[in-house]
């Protein structure tokens, strides 16, 4: 394996292929198109399924179909396309089949633009369509992490038979960076015990999200909630930099987290006791670790490329113990380290002395 | 004319009358004196005269697959299989 200069979108696509994705269904949309295009080239070459669907609605339902047969399957899109997938995602979650969705977010609402954004945070973490559930959401901040999380996304999807998002923004999708791809995984020979493979020699199997009877549907939901509680317990992931003995922790994910890293470093150089907390799972939100930090620091500063969405989760994790500030840009504007630095400084000088 | 007979699964019958109307021999009638567990007046074979030909038209017409059809055929003497 060698380190190559890879574009985020292409790296995601190739990582999925190496993780053994057997079927890709998608519809072109900027800024994720290179992902679909890489699939268009590679999947037929490898004898795997690639369909450019007539729409995102069709794409997600093709994913649903392929997922029912127990193969690794995925789609990718960007914000408006993800909105169109909400019903399908809810069916997938309700039927408990594994599927991986890449959302390379862009500025909204509406047609908005194609610049980098994180304004789908609520849409991806809160429900993905109607009904009571959260998808698992992974948010890489570099091309290498995108590759690693893409691989992991399939494992998590299979493990929990659940919807797993990998979310990034157009900047990461378009960026080239040195990274290493994992070796090609051999395709699985065996299909899971729930998969539709034809009933020859066994009882028939059914995959459905329908339970007309309320108590039956409640039972399904209780199982789902139990699973989500397990995921919440086991799969919270985050990374930190310089969070020992600090007064202020900056919280940001993906590109915003990465830009914040530079700002934090500069603030440290300038003598401020500041650290960085970067959630890697947006759902389950790494609340345990953040709550622990809330006991040790004087304030949090949330950085997002939106109007403040993860902010709610940080506030919930902070539990009213420390003040939480916010700095963000919207509409496809990417913040620069300087403006985050300025905000850090502004908050830092006013930090209350906390008696512990 | 071939001789036939049908069996109607009364518990499955929804009393739609389609078999009765389809039967060319007119030997299916709807019960008027009792309902089945689902509350429907079921269809019944009423073939005292043995007019049923086993044509299976009723079975083809039935949306609820309630009807099994039998027909009498000359018995074939089966050659005893050499073991």
């Amino acid at each position: 394996m060698t380190i190559e200069l890879l574009k985020g979108n292409v790296a995601l696509a190739e990582a999925a292929i190496r993780a053994g994705v057997e079927a890709y269904f998608g519809y072109p949309i900027t800024p994720q198109t290179e992902l679909l295009e890489h699939m268009a080239k590679r999947m037929p070459e490898l004898g795997r399924a690639f369909v450019q669907a007539e729409s995102e609605v069709a794409a997600i339902n093709m994913v649903y179909g392929a997922a029912c047969t127990g193969v690794r399957t995925m789609t990718s899109s960007s914000s408006p396309g993800i909105s169109l997938m909400q019903e399908g995602l809810s069916y997938i979650a309700g039927s408990e089949v594994p599927a991986v969705i890449v959302d390379i977010m862009r500025g909204g609402p509406g047609l908005g633009n194609i610049q980098p954004s994180q304004s789908d945070y609520f849409q991806v973490t809160r429900s993905a369509g109607h009904g009571d559930y959260h998808p698992i959401v992974l948010a890489p901040a570099s091309v290498q992490e995108a590759i690693d999380l893409m691989t992991e996304a399939f494992d998590l999807a299979d493990k929990y038979r659940h919807v797993v998002y990998v979310v990034a923004d157009g900047l990461l999708g378009q960026m080239m960076e040195p990274a290493e791809l994992p070796p090609m995984q051999p395709l699985r020979k065996e299909r899971a015990g729930w998969a539709l493979t034809g009933s020859e020699g066994r009882e028939k199997r059914i995959i459905t999200s329908l339970q007309l009877n309320a108590p039956d549907l409640e039972a399904v939901n209780l199982r789902l909630q139990f699973k989500l509680a397990e995921i919440r317990k086991r799969e919270q992931r985050s990374t930190e930099m310089l969070t020992e003995n600090v007064r202020l922790v900056v919280v940001g994910y993906g590109t915003a987290g990465r830009i914040a890293e530079t700002a934090v470093k500069r603030a440290r150089e300038d003598g401020m006791k500041v650290g960085l907390f970067r959630p890697i799972t947006l759902w389950p939100f790494p609340e345990r670790r953040l709550s622990a930090l809330a006991d040790q620091v004087d304030a949090f500063l949330v950085v997002e490329m939106n109007a403040g969405q993860m902010l709610d989760d940080v506030r919930l994790a902070a539990g009213g113990q420390v003040p939480v500030s916010f700095v963000g840009r919207m509409g496809g504007v990417v913040p620069v380290p300087e403006e985050i630095y300025d905000k850090i400084e502004e908050i830092y000088v006013k930090l209350p002395v906390r008696v512990r | 004319m071939a001789k036939g007979r049908i069996e109607i699964r009364e518990d499955r019958c929804k009393g739609c009358t389609l078999c009765a109307l389809a039967c060319p021999q007119g030997v299916i009638v709807m019960a008027s004196d009792h309902v089945n567990a689902k509350g429907y007046y079921p269809a019944m074979l009423n073939d005292a005269e043995g007019k049923c030909t086993g044509c299976a038209i009723c079975a083809v017409a039935c949306p609820d697959v309630c009807i099994t059809v039998y027909r009498q055929v000359p018995a074939k003497t089966r050659p005893s299989a050499a073991v």
Binding site: T30, N113, L171, Q174, M176, E261, P337, E339 | -
Partner: protein, 188 residues
């Protein structure tokens, strides 16, 4: 001190702006430096503008974007107008003199002025503008070694474009020469 440069390449579509940046990025990788390359995409593309940001560093790179780049190559006049004021004090500005209206005025930065388009035409192919400008940059600030650039370039062009090897190398050399020369001349 460790090296860390934030470099913007800016010009029209068709001037090889993005490839210029990529070549630098590939070279940085070859030298085992940390590097990020980001194109501007979106509305500008259709408007004819093309630019990219390359960060090259001895350390892992946090932000791949910056407000104040340390180095900028402007391929045309709008880019010069947009970026001159943003460069960090002490930074470097490489200007394609062929397509500008007014020369840059800042005195707190290092400036290399060269008529890259004209020089490229002289070399026989306007497409060489990007190589000349990149050469000039490296002449002035050897962010990466010229030998590595040459090796990576030949590798990227491959045998299919073998006939262009000479020309590209000549363009890089021509730029480097000017970069070096002005370096001596204007050294602060």
């Amino acid at each position: 001190m460790t090296m860390h440069e934030e470099i913007i390449f800016a010009g029209f579509g068709g001037q090889g702006v993005l490839f210029g940046g990529q070549l630098l990025a590939y070279t940085a990788l070859a030298e085992e430096k940390h590097v990020t390359w980001i194109p501007s995409y979106g509305p500008e593309m259709r408007g004819g503008t093309a630019n990219c940001t390359v960060v090259v560093s001895d350390d892992p790179i946090g932000s791949p974007v910056c407000r104040n780049p340390s180095i900028v190559i402007t391929f045309n006049n709008p880019s010069l107008e947009k970026y001159e004021s943003l460069i960090k004090p002490g930074g470097l500005l490489v200007v394609n003199e062929s397509l500008i209206v007014e020369p840059p005025t800042r005195t707190d930065i290092d400036v290399v002025l060269l008529p890259a388009t004209t020089l490229a035409t002289e070399l026989g192919d306007t497409k060489m503008t990007n190589m000349i400008l990149l050469g000039a940059l490296l002449g002035r600030r050897p962010v990466v070694a010229m030998e590595t650039v040459q090796a990576v370039l030949l590798d990227k062009l491959g045998s299919r474009k073998a006939h262009l090897h000479e020309l590209n190398l000549a363009a890089l050399a021509r730029g480097q020469e000017i970069g070096l020369a002005q370096n001596t001349e204007q050294a602060v």
